[in-house]
Assembly symmetry: C2
Homo-oligomer: 409 residues x 2
Amino acid sequence: MSADIDNPAASAPADAEEVQANEAVSPSSKLAEFSAEEALELESGVKLAPWQIAFETYGTLNADKSNAVVVCHALTGDQYVASDNPVTGKPGWWSLMVGPGKPIDTNHYFVICSNVLGGCLGTTGPATINPDTGKPYGVDFPVVTIRDIVRAQARLVDYLGIDTLFAVIGGSMGGMQVLQWAASYPERVFSAVPIAAAARHTSQNIAFHEVGRQAIMADPNWLGGHYIEHDVRPTKGLAIARMAAHVTYMSDESLHQKFGRNLQDRENLTFGFDADFQIESYLRHQGMTFVDRFDANSYLYVTRAMDYFDLAREFGSVTNAFKDTNTRFCIMSFTSDWLFPTSESRSVVKALNAAAANVSFVEIECDRGHDSFLLDVPEMFDTIRGFVTGAARARGLPAPGEEISTTDS
Amino acid sequence: MSADIDNPAASAPADAEEVQANEAVSPSSKLAEFSAEEALELESGVKLAPWQIAFETYGTLNADKSNAVVVCHALTGDQYVASDNPVTGKPGWWSLMVGPGKPIDTNHYFVICSNVLGGCLGTTGPATINPDTGKPYGVDFPVVTIRDIVRAQARLVDYLGIDTLFAVIGGSMGGMQVLQWAASYPERVFSAVPIAAAARHTSQNIAFHEVGRQAIMADPNWLGGHYIEHDVRPTKGLAIARMAAHVTYMSDESLHQKFGRNLQDRENLTFGFDADFQIESYLRHQGMTFVDRFDANSYLYVTRAMDYFDLAREFGSVTNAFKDTNTRFCIMSFTSDWLFPTSESRSVVKALNAAAANVSFVEIECDRGHDSFLLDVPEMFDTIRGFVTGAARARGLPAPGEEISTTDS
């Protein structure tokens, strides 16, 4: 099919589902490949090899390699933080945050964003060919953890020849990775910005994820996790998982403001099971479009990684996770986020305070729920811009708006 | 199978699923049957006939028929409010509230509880034989509303020869019915106790229901809603719907207290997709047991009735719904109920105040979420006991603890 230049929506590939399947094994982004001798040791004890990590970079690494920023993506995110997504054709998921002149200013910083381990846009995951069988891993892929995901990122940072990161930043599961980076590699993280995150997944968080996983596994097309080799996809189950999750990303208030009890393209109730209400139509659309860009098995693995996340389990206590840290933290939560509520961020702050860490904390007034971190929330941008500028000065980097002093050189 | 007297759990029927299917058409409770000439007119315009309503009663109707109390059940409840459920073998769902000496004291009041229209324990619903086809209605059953459900109850009350109800009480969807009773039949309701309810279903409420319905309809055994005649059941889809809903009935805090991140019968994470966490195991159990006692199509119909509920739509405004009412209201909400939050109850109270109604309102401090109304919450029982005693005096009925004065007779 040729692109229809009169219709911007036509920039999305004709068969996004097929494009996604290709991107899962042969990403159009940058790629770091590790051989059978360069295994990634996982928390489960499994040695994963060969393996690869798909990533994008933005901006230029400076001479002393001190301006690198790792951006960590959330559950359904990807490496295309500030450039067009090859599956959807849409702009990068955080192009409000990352780019020239943006809070994470790519005129000043070298930004690295990679697809998570277990993901489906080019980093090794359940859609990867299992070298032992010649078929896609499916559920024979080892369960990975946030620690494993971060370890893979650290290997990528090594590969790029970078020792210390100026900053690590991310929201939701991305924020979990930020905390894990600071806990696992304290000497490599100058500053850390976990947004709408937590030091553990709560019982309620696990519960919602379990509903989604059960929906996927109940789909007869899941075929015990080995659907790819049979050329089918459990799209119905995955769509339901996405719908259930999506409700938790929004606040009651934002749903009320956006949809209320408004009817969808009709004036009266139809007394049937069609999508009478706009919220039903919206959710169905969310479910249907999600299956074009995401793999069901990856959804199982990445949700599991989040469920397993619990810094206190790994380090004895959250305070202990950050013992003697020199990292500068900026922690943010949103008033209307009931999935990762302020209380969770606050308990991270308390633990950091008990570890005598350098930490600032802002609870941002915003009625748009957990997804606020992805949206146009000026106070979040201002806070990050301020924090990053201060951190740049402390690091001896020119902050955005400041010229590099040539007389000092 | 013979009952095992050493094992109380063995009181549950061996094949609960089959018992449920039988109870849906031939209930073991009391039954009021209405002929083809006694149609129930539905809000959709459909005239439903013949139809039947299954119910239980407790206590004795007094001579002037002034001590009748209608208890309205919630989404997955039934008529067995204070007696053993024939499907599960378990005690009535509100036996803490209704019975001799209980807040709704059956030594004093005549309690009526019926299965809702569209339900699956004996009242006409999607499992009923469609007289036009000789097969179960399935999704050819007309969509019913809370108003229809209450209208059917009013027909039952007529059938029992009762004019005015001393009280109507219920929680959640039961509370919606209480509000509808007071709005539709103000002269027949002396007092009304809607608990953890609202005058409308919110966008978030509808969203969670839609996820459940989609899960049911995605199950290949649903067969377009006509599974009964093919002798299969969409149990996987229904279990997922129940799991998703169940999470919303509990508070984050109660989940944390009950389960936290505790592991299920194991000391370490298994790095797999089994139920590692107790909350996962608990949810799976909730899903699996639910399908034994509930019908998937009924779940579609009853959730739809809740979604459609909106007193302001019917009456122009909630205040208008209660214009000139003489009913005495006692409204209750729970601090940790995020599904039907206090703000919804408070807006009903405001509307009643604007209608100059007699209304008391209590927000009960309880950390157990929406399901609190079904649990042992002493402040709720005390509040209802007090309210009912006062209402009995106002009605000229002997209140519990008071003897009927024989000198007056």
